[in-house]
Amino acid sequence: MERTRISTHIILICGAMFMTLPVWIAFATSTHAPETILREGLQFWPGGNFLKTYKEVLFVEGGVMKKVTAITMLKNSLILGIGFAVGKVIVSMLAAYAIVYFRFRFAVPLFWVIFMTLLLPLEVRIIPSYKVVADLGLLDTQAGLIIPLIASATGTFFFRQFFRSVPDELLEAARLDGATAWGFFKDILVPLSKTMIAAILIIMFVVGWNQYLWPLIMTTKEENYTLVIGIKQIYQVLSEGGEIPQFQKAFAMTILATLPPVLVVLIFQNWFVKGLVESEK
């Protein structure tokens, strides 16, 4: 008994270290001067340049054109992450509502068509999507960045499963109570799906935040860059420029890019778990 407890803990500690050490090293390294990093490689203990590095990253314009700060990129990433998550939840809830509660022709085949698009990652349709957005004149705009991504097969599937678990009597009671289709959705289904909505919002926020290829293609102006692209941009400067490589900035940016998803998950983890395991009745 005692033995298994100890070995369990050892395994857990190893796992935790395996997951967190890279992040720690990135953080520690980001607090050193670029010369130290260049001379001695990655650092395990924090150095004395914490304030200097982060101040520079956050407030001094960098990038190839020296036009964008991490603050701007943070803002862009937030807009993308939140817009992406909220948009997906709205669209997929409405789609699932239609599929589950309305009897229309081809509802079931339509659902499977939606479901099958899960098999097609963004990369497959990125060129047609780009063409559509370009024709609409939405290149280099937030709308162009978000709207093409907000249809979600995953979300639709989750909400469909959830709605199907809602007892039919609730719908019948609401019909007798004189609720309209919209009334039932807004007064009964949305409040019942609260935990589900939270779980999907969190997942989708993280997915949206981490989008790389799509924003890279969609944005050409530096002031529209997201954090994830910003990191890449710094490395690009490294390989091309004649300056001393700014590794510490790249690491600082990585830490900054990790923070919001971590915070979101930490703050909402209770809801998140509830939404995934519990069907509240």
């Binding site: 007892p167 009671a173 007798l176 109570d177 509240e280």
Partner: protein, 358 residues
Amino acid sequence: MSSVTLKDVRKTYPNGAEAIRGVDMDIKSGELIVFVGPSGCGKSTLLRMVAGLEGISGGDISIGERLINDVSPSERDVAMVFQNYALYPHMSVRGNMSYGLKNRKMPKAEIDQKVNDAAKMLKIDAFLERQPNQLSGGQRQRVAMGRAIVREPSVFLFDEPLSNLDAKLRVQMRIEIKKLQRRMNVTSIYVTHDQTEAMTLADRLAVINEGRVEQMGAPMELYTNPKTLFVASFIGAPAINLIPVTFDGQTLNNGPLELSGFTGLPENTDLVLGIRPDVMDKNPSGQFEMRVDLVERHGGETLIYGALSNAVDNQGEELEICLKGDKEMLPELDEKLQLGFDPSTAFVFRKDTGERLI
């Protein structure tokens, strides 16, 4: 308050299954009608057709003078209490009760007034701000009834509302439903598979079997004067004793068993003799002999189960019958009891059609 009229109401599902096969019914204003029948007989379907939750394939349903075949559920002026209560889990008791009124655009002050009155009447005024999951089964049931009452509908519909409650609470709520219905004097239709509930609640009872009304009438009328074998076997607890017999001109026979006192029955036809457990008694010269298998003491009365001597059922097995006696009647196991009955209190049915002959 209004009457409810069903005229040749039918329900056929798209796959051809017939759930309701022509039901005619006149429900008077203020009456409490109970639909009773085995599961799958169509009683709930019929109720849901009145509510508007199921479409009507044929025939007419009217409430008062108004034909409601194509009227939406919320405009039929009916309120329904569901088996699993169907309370909105995220709303407080007050929210649950007022939702229907809000949808009708009733002013807030009026809603509050009605909700408070109904809550007081149902003794749930102390929990108005609680969520349904903080309430016990009985309290949820009351909330479900409160939600129906505040709408002041012209017809109440109850779909097996007590089947999720424990036995004691069920009896208590049954009495309350009856009292409430008397006080409010609203036409009500109540669906149940529990014949005790049906007998005690109903002004009139409709026994439904395979989508048809077998017989409709006052509970005691159905008990003492069933028209068919099905009604006789469904109504009454403990269930009626059924003995397969044939008639030879003088006596009813089952193997060596001969029962006299019957005349005018068709010969060479399979018949079923029905005798209620409470019309038989110990009688040394009685026509039955029973070997006691089990004695159930219910306090005020005793139920004695045993095999009928000299007779077999359709499969050739022993025929189990039940006798209701007073609390002093305590035979030993395997004791042979001699039982008599008055032939005029027994029923005889045709086995093939279920039609009652005597």
